[in-house]
């Protein structure tokens, strides 16, 4: 996922400007663990996954960094709207585009 900021805005448009009331909306969701007990503060589960899964996650994380920086450089990390938009774009590029136009729900309506 490389290119100018304009290319990233175009990707965000492509991800968002679809018939979202009719098409599936692809998203990659983080798995966050907020459980806590007095003796065991909230921690994420230990991941002992194969290298492939971790590499896939590292690729997605790098894409998230790149898209956020391209769309809203220097923007505060606590802006959940910006994180959501960046994840939308990353998700769409990651697996929303795996479907050919003929496969897409909205294209057949």
């Amino acid at each position: 996922m490389t290119g100018s900021p304009h290319a990233h805005v175009a990707l965000l448009r492509e991800a968002q400007d679809r018939a979202l009331e009719a098409e599936g909306i692809p998203m990659v969701l983080a798995l966050l663990d907020h459980r806590a007990t007095p003796d065991a503060p909230a921690v994420a589960p230990t991941v002992e996954q194969e290298d492939g899964a971790r590499a896939e996650g590292e690729r997605l994380a790098a894409a998230l960094d790149e898209v956020r920086e391209a769309l809203l450089p220097g923007h505060r990390g606590s802006d959940l709207g910006a994180t959501t938009a960046a994840l939308q774009a990353v998700s769409y590029a990651d697996f929303g585009r795996v479907l050919d136009a003929s496969e897409r729900l909205g294209a057949q309506r």
Binding site: I25, L29, H34, T46, T83
Partner: protein, 231 residues
Amino acid sequence: MSGVVDLSAGAHRDALAAGRFVRVVNYHSTPASGREALRTELAAYAARFRGIDLAELDGFFATGSWASDAPGFLPVFYEGYRTGHDVVAPVCEELGLTAWFMVCTGFVDCPPAQQEAFARSHWIGLTAEELAAPGQRVALDWDEVGALAQRHVVTPHTASHDGVADVVTDEDLEREVVAPKRRMDAATGQSAPAFVWLHGTPYGASPRHDAAVREAGYRYQFSNTAVQRIG
């Protein structure tokens, strides 16, 4: 329980980089005329990714590992449309997928003659097909909710399709957070596992709302950017 929940971009990034992520595809209306298109789209996803059921999601949070190396995904269907039973479930069952239904319980409770007005009052879109016969039932009924729960995940998306800004009083919390779980559990004979606010507000945005969701007995909150294990 700490009131501090890290929802920053960095927290999301770190989860992804550590392999703590899942792909989802969110759907809303799925009219009967789009059944084959839906089947084609879901089949394309199913060819590339592996459907995840509740036991596997629970297992991930228990062990930190998935049951398989193959990337997983969740097809998620919002609002509680009747077509969830008539269209989505048969397609998902044909493809061997577990569907995740996020149901507005007030939509289900609403008399069919009032469901169009309820939908128009609560940000629930209806298709031309659903509007073709005024007064027909367009939401799931409770028998269908119970039937879906035998093969799929069915869980509340508030009663009235409300967001946190709409839920102010204790009475609001009871109606939109607590009662939906009680009603759904009675219909399914199970414990509804997850809660979703309108607009996908995350756990961690409001301590009062967080406590209500947690104390109601939900163990997950789905948001726009995360699946959050909360209990």
